[in-house]
Every structure is written in structure tokens, then in C-alpha cells.
Amino acid sequence: MIHISDIFLALILLSVLLSLRSNRLMALVKLMAFQGIVVSAVPLILDTAHGITFKLIMFFLLLVFVKGILIPGMMSVAVNKVVVSTEIEPIIGYHASLFAGLILIIFSVYITNHLHLAMAVQYKMLLVTGITTMGAGLILLMARRKAITQVIGYLMMENGIYLIGTALAKEVHTQYVVEFAVLLDLLVAVLVMGIVLNDINHTFDDVDTALLGQLKD
């Protein structure tokens, strides 16, 4: 039988792979928005155990607002302000990245099976998705030259970790204060990065990290 959550997870994986091969900044940002919404929906789908509480709904909405609307909004603003070629300029090519992403999926499936965890199959699937997402985020961080891409990579990694957390540490989801704090941190982090990006853009007329290689020994 196919669990409904698998559809969501498949969507996430799809977004990951697409983001690895997308060559336009704007497209990447949109992908992020999509991924953010799906990811924040995952606990809603999985937490059938506790039942759909009001708190859960509220928190879901908050997540969607932050990850799906607020952060991507800020990103798109940043992209629009940065009036340079919206080409992404990869260090590692798109196809190579895509290929890496596929290998990543296989790898994470292997890991998940290797762990011999006694948990429901959809949680295992969730773990696979989480690891893949995190890995893809790291790939974006390391393999892309634009600073904005790195922010997006960071966000994707964050999503991945959030998914892994959902898969492993169910305890956390009963403590909304903590979750909210984490979310707040994420928001402020992106905000600060945005401000710095803005200043960098003012000072360097570009956000290419190749320009950010002056401090060294």
C-alpha cells in the first residue's frame, strides 16, 4: 500500500533534484518556496499518532508562512535588487550535480537500511529524504559560486536536518517553544545574511564569492 506521506517525500526529492540542475536564481528561489511548504506539511501528515491538534495546525501555518512565503520573499527581493546576470555560475556543472544528487539518494537509502532501525517504513523513507536534502544543500554550498545560492543551500540543508529530526526525534514536536525558537533563529539568520548580502552587493557590485577571497594567509 502506498502511504500519503510518500507522495510528499517524492515531491521533496523532486524539488531537490530540480534545484540541483536549475540554472536560474529565480527558479531556485521558487523551488525553495515549494520545498519549504511541503517540508512544513510533513509533520502534519506523519503525526497521526497524536492526532491533529489545534496547536499543530497553528504551528503548521506558521511554518508555511515563514518557510514558504517570508524567506523566499526576502530571497526574491535580494535577487531582484542584485541586478546582475541571474546565471548561477556553478563550480561543479549542473549534470554533475544532478548525478551527485542521484548518488546521494542511493547512498542515503544504503545508510538508512544499514542502520537497522525499528521504525515504520514511511519514517525510513523520511530519513532517506532528509539525508538527501541535507546532502544536496551541502553540495549547493560547496559547488555554487553565487552567495545567494549558498544561502539557498543553507536553507535546503536546514530543511533536510528538520526532516531527519522529524524522523528521529518525535519528542521535539511536543515542545513548540523550542521549535519556535529554532524557527526564529532560522529567520534571523536569513535576515542577517540578506543584510550582509545587500552590503556586499553595495560594496563589490556583485555577490560572487570569488570576490570574497581576499582574507587569507
Partner: protein, 652 residues
């Protein structure tokens, strides 16, 4: 103990008041010098009294940082080392009164006196430290204060480099000592000195070697001596007198003290020490012969004398290991007495050198000459110092070398390697003696005798009273020990009583031999005066005229034709070619009527070159290869993190 603390208090008062009143230059100097001398005198009297009374050890302990204790203990050997510490420091302080006379450098002089006082105090504490922590603390204080003394003339680049090299060696050495302490601590489990004798032999050996490296770098044992020839010329002369005379002896003290505490039974210790002594002794004096800067030359002689001291101690250790009481007693007595003797004549020589440099403005011996007429007192005291350091009777240097010889000869009864090491010790002592004589005939002959080789040497005049007086005092002490050695030898032996083998050994052999020696010396003096009288008689009523030196047929001799120190030592230096690198630059004479020709030679320190080529440069090269790590690319930086995770997860 209270007297001891009172002395330290006086000394520190001198240092601090110098800082307080540095604007009133002469007042500051008077106050500092008097206070320091007073404190040193008090301390010296206390130490001497303890030695002569065979007073029981007194100890003091004060809890520190909750867990440790700051504990001191004055036993025979501590007292024995305290004597030179206080005496030399006092004399050098007196010397500094006129040596430091630059009223414009009030602050600098004040700082110099402050750290001078600190150095004395820390040396005294090193000599009395009674647990690992206290020893380490005092040791580091000693290092840092002496560093600040070395860089007194900080505006000179040479001084800064010397200070850097010294700082480096002293800190590295300290870390080695700490490591050695770690081995001791790991077996005893506390910081005290009590249980050290009971730790396993392997640990004893490792710890002793580590401490030997640390203390050896301070004492200037041959491969680790590199800082000495830089630091001593750079420092002001009264500081070099104290550093070379006393401070490097603290390294010896460390070696002796930990040897006594560990009570090792293996003969290996003695053999190591004798080998090091041979190397330092012979090569030290050869390098000294090759050097033209008078203070650098004296610095190398410190290396040589450390070698002699080590030979004595090594003989003593060998004797202890083989149960040969005579050997042990004479070896240790000789080594320890040489510590005292060397501190006397070496500081005397450094003061003389300082006076010469101050009066002529040059430290290069090949530019000096004929100073015996210009600076009669300095010249004569320097002559006495030279005879003493060459280990010739009737002065003190001979006494200690005699004791070491005596011990070594009685080691010849032993079999196998111990016998060979005794022979080695005898041979190297003989060679060192001859070479030292060669070197100091060179110094005295070239600097003080003959004709001045430069006009500034010709214009020199005698140094001030307060610079001459200390030299006379020290010269008198050298002669005194040389003529009446008995009590000093007795005291030196008492210091080595801590060895179980010698605990109840009655030094019956010492007294007759020492009285014989002093009789022989007195006989020598009698004959000497007799012959002098006879000579006078023969000259009665004969015409004694004076004219120029016979030029062997050459009629236009000039001062520049004299034999220089370089040429004097050349053949000896050449003889030791494999161990010593000489670089000679001269312009070939190619025309029939040669133009202006030049000649210059420089003796390189092999161990310095070795350390550079085999240790420093390779390490720096390797480390520079690693500098790409920080090359500014943020993607790579994140890569490091991922890499770290992967590696760690593999090794989970």
C-alpha cells in the same frame, strides 16, 4: 630561614625603589646598589655560616592555589650554590654602579636594576626550591628576568636578536624540564621531592635526560649552547658577569639536584655526563680560540668550564655507580668547587672585558693591545683571572681540576667501559687545560701586552674606582682559594654528602693532599721570591738600558705587524678542522707590486649550522607547505567541515 627571607626582601626593596625613583638618577643607583649589596651580603653570610656549621636543613612551606605548596628548603647543596649567587651578584652590583652611567637612560637603568634584583631572588629560589612546582616557578622567573637584562641595549639589532634566541632557548628548555617533571609526577603522584628515589629506573633515565636537556640548554652544554655566544656579548658586562658566572650554574644545580634526588644506580648517567663534558670542554675552548670578540670568546669559555664541571660530576656519578668512594667524593667535590671557582674568575674576566670595552670602545681583540700600561689594575686582575681559568697553580682553577684529576685517576682501577671513560676524562682535562692556556695567553698577550694596534686603544685609560675594586676583590679570592684550598674543598665535599654512598665517608684523603698542595704552592712562592732577589743582586751595578724590540733585521716595525689573535690561534683551529668550520676570505697576491690586500676569517659554530640545516629549515619548509589551508575560498572551508564529519563517522 628568616635571615634568608630578610635578604631577599632587602634585594627586592632595592629593585622596587629603583623603579620608584628612576627620575633621580644617582640617588636611584646609590639606593639600588646599596640595598642589593646589603641583601646579598646578608644572604651570603647566612649561607656560608650554614655551610661551616653543617647546620641542619631548614625548610619553609606555604600553601598556594589551594592544592600546591610553595616550599623551600636550604640544605648543604642549596647553601653551597647560594654562596656564589649572592657573592657574585653583590660584586657585580658594585661594578654596575659606575658601569651604568648614562643619566639619560634613567628608566632603562631602573628597569635593569629591578630585573637584576628579580634575577638574584629567582636564582636563590631555584637553589632552595623543594618541590616541582616551586622549582618550575622560580626557573621561569629566572628566565624571564634574565631575558629583560639581556635586552638592556634594546636599540641595537644584535641585542634584539640575541634576546630572541635566548628567549627561545630558555622557553624550549623549560618545556623539556616540565616534561621531565611530568615523568616524575606520574610515578610519585605528588609534587614533592621526597619519593623520587623510589621510581623505576627507566622513568629515572627518561626524566633525567629530559631535565638534562632543559637544564643543559640553560647551562650551555655543547649542542645546546647556541644562545650563549649571542647573549653574553649583547648584555651589559655586569649582567654577563652574573649570567655567565652564576645563572648558567643554575642549570648545573638542576642536574645535580635531580641526580641526588633520583639516586640512580646505573653507570649510564655518569657516562652520558662525561661524554657531554668532553664535547663541551674541548670544542668550547677551540671555538673560543677561534673568536675575535672578547666577550664572545669568554662566552665560549663558559661552555668549556661547564664541560669541566660536567667531567667532575660525571666522574662522581661513575664512582657512585661503581661504589668507588674516592672517585665519587673527589669527582663531586671537584665539580662543585669548580662551580664556585668558575663563578669567581669568569665574572672577574667579564668585568675586565667590560672595562676594556668601555675604555676603548671596541670588543675586537685584534684592534687592542698594550693596555697593561694604560690600565694597570684591570690588566693585572685580568692576568690573574686568565691564569685561574687556565687551571694553573697557584690559583683556584687548578684546585678543582686537581680534584677531578684525582677522582678520575682513581677511576682507572675500574674495568671495562668505566675505565675507558676515566681515561677519556683525563685526556680531555689535559687537552682542555693546554688549550685554555693557549687561548688566554692569546687574550692577555694580544689585548694587554705588546703595542696598541689602534689609536683608540692607545688613548685608553684606567676604569673608575668602583669598576676596579670588584675585580681586585675577586682576584684576591682566586688567589686565596689557590693557596689555602682545604676549607673550600671540605665545604664542597659536604655539599655532596647527600649521596648515600658518601653519607658516612670521612674525607680523610682530602686534608693531607690539600695541605700538601698549599705547601707546594707556598714553596713555589718562596723560590719565586728568592730567585727574584737573586736576580736583583745580579743586576746590581750593571747598566740596564732600553730600546725598541729587535725586528730581526727589519728596521721599520709597526704595531700592525704584531701577531694578531687570529693568526695566533690559526694553527690550533686548523687542527680541529673537522669539528669546526673556518671561513677565510683574502685577496690573492697576483701582481709583482701587489695592491691593497685584505684578509678576514670567521669561525662558524657547527652545532648552530647543524641545528639550522637539520632542524629549523626542514620544519619551516614543511610548515610553509601547509599554508594553503587558509586560502580564502569559502566553498573549500565548508568542504573541510564535511570532510571532518565523514572522517569522524568512519572512525566512529
Amino acid at each position: 630561614m628568616n635571615l634568608f627571607f630578610l635578604a631577599l626582601l632587602l634585594i627586592s626593596a632595592g629593585g622596587t625603589q629603583a623603579l620608584a625613583t628612576f627620575r633621580l638618577y644617582s640617588l636611584m643607583k646609590v639606593g639600588a646598589v646599596t640595598a642589593i649589596i646589603g641583601g646579598c651580603a646578608l644572604g651570603a653570610c647566612n649561607a656560608v655560616w650554614r655551610l661551616l656549621q653543617h647546620a641542619d636543613p631548614v625548610s619553609y612551606s606555604h600553601s598556594w592555589l589551594q592544592t600546591f605548596s610553595f616550599s623551600l628548603k636550604i640544605d648543604a647543596i642549596s647553601a653551597f650554590f647560594l654562596v656564589p649567587v649572592f657573592i657574585i651578584s653583590a660584586v657585580a652590583a658594585l661594578y654596575s654602579f659606575q658601569y651604568l652611567n648614562d643619566a639619560k637612560r634613567g628608566a632603562g637603568t631602573a628597569i635593569n636594576y629591578f630585573f637584576y634584583a628579580l634575577l638574584i631572588i629567582s636564582m636563590a629560589l631555584v637553589a632552595c626550591a623543594d618541590n616541582l612546582i616551586t622549582f618550575a616557578l622560580a626557573w621561569e622567573l629566572m628566565s624571564v628576568s634574565s631575558f629583560f637584562l639581556v635586552i638592556y641595549d634594546v636599540q641595537k639589532k644584535a641585542t634584539r636578536d640575541a634576546g630572541y634566541i635566548y628567549f627561545l632557548f630558555t622557553q624550549a628548555g623549560a618545556l623539556f624540564i616540565f616534561a621531565g617533571f611530568g615523568f616524575l609526577y606520574s610515578h610519585t603522584g605528588n609534587f614533592g621531592f621526597e619519593a623520587l628515589a623510589s621510581i623505576p629506573d627507566s622513568a629515572k633515565l627518561i626524566a633525567f635526560i629530559l631535565i638534562l636537556i632543559g637544564c643543559g640548554s640553560k647551562a650551555g652544554i655543547m649542542p645546546l649552547h647556541i644562545w650563549l655566544p649571542y647573549a653574553h656579548p649583547a648584555a651589559p658586562s655586569h649582567v654577563s658577569a652574573v649570567m655567565s658566572g652564576v645563572m648558567i650554574k643554575m642549570g648545573i644545580y638542576g642536574i645535580v639536584r635531580f641526580y641526588l634526588l633520583l639516586e640512580p644506580t646505573s653507570a649510564l648517567f655518569g657516562q652520558i655526563i662525561i661524554t657531554l663534558g668532553t664535547i663541551s670542554g674541548i670544542l668550547g675552548v677551540v671555538y673560543a680560540i677561534g673568536k675575535h670578540d672578547i666577550k664572545r670568546l669568554l662566552a665560549y669559555h663558559s661552555v668549556e668550564n661547564i664541560g669541566i664541571i660536567l667531567l667532575g660530576l660525571g666522574i662522581g656519578m661513575l664512582g657512585t655507580a661503581t661504589g668507588n668512594k674516592t672517585m665519587a667524593a673527589f669527582g663531586f667535590a671537584g665539580g662543585l668547587l669548580h662551580v664556585l671557582n668558575h663563578s669567581l674568575f669568569k665574572s672577574l674576566l667579564f668585568m675586565g672585558a667590560g672595562a676594556v670595552i668601555q675604555q676603548t670602545g671596541s670588543a675586537s681583540i685584534d684592534q687592542l693591545g698594550g693596555l697593561m700600561k694604560k690600565m694597570p689594575v684591570t690588566g693585572r686582575s685580568f692576568l690573574i683571572g686568565s691564569i685561574s681559568i687556565s687551571g694553573l697553580p697557584p690559583f683556584n682553577g687548578f684546585i678543582s681540576e686537581f680534584l677531578i684529576y684525582y677522582g678520575a685517576f682513581h677511576g682507572l682501577h675500574l674495568q671495562g667501559t668505566s675505565f675507558l671513560f676515566s681515561v677519556l676524562a683525563i685526556i680531555s682535562l689535559a687537552t682542555i687545560g693546554g688549550l685554555a692556556a693557549a687561548c688566554f695567553t692569546k687574550v692577555v698577550g694580544v689585548v694587554f701586552l705588546g703595542e696598541p694596534r689602534s689609536d683608540f686603544a692607545a688613548r685608553a685609560s684606567e676604569a673608575g674606582f668602583f669598576m676596579v675594586l670588584p675585580q681586585l676583590l675577586l682576584a684576591a679570592l682566586c688567589l686565596g682559594i689557590g693557596i689555602w684550598p682545604a676549607h673550600f674543598v671540605q665545604v664542597a665535599f659536604e655539599a655532596s654528602r647527600a649521596i648515600p654512598l658518601l653519607a658516612n665517608y670521612e674525607p680523610t684523603q682530602f686534608m693531607p693532599i690539600m695541605t700538601n698542595i698549599s705547601r707546594t704552592v707556598i714553596l713555589f712562592f718562596l723560590l719565586f721570591f728568592g730567585i727574584t732577589l737573586l736576580r736583583k743582586l745580579f743586576y746590581v751595578g750593571k747598566e740596564v738600558t732600553s730600546s725598541g724590540t729587535w725586528g730581526c733585521g727589519f728596521t721599520q716595525p709597526t704595531a700592525r705587524m704584531q701577531y694578531t689573535g687570529t693568526s695566533y690561534g690559526d694553527s690550533i683551529v686548523d687542527f680541529f678542522r673537522p669539528f669546526i668550520r673556518v671561513e677565510k676570505k683574502y685577496s690573492e697576491i697576483d701582481k709583482i707590486f701587489p695592491g691593497k690586500t685584505t684578509y678576514s676569517s670567521h669561525v662558524h659554530d657547527s652545532s648552530e649550522i647543524g641545528m639550522n640545516t637539520f632542524l629549523v629549515r626542514p620544519v619551516l619548509y614543511l610548515l610553509n607547505k601547509l599554508r594553503w589551508i587558509q586560502h580564502g575560498n569559502i566553498q573549500l572551508y565548508i568542504g573541510y567541515i564535511v570532510l571532518a564529519i565523514v572522517v569522524m563517522l568512519i572512525f566512529i
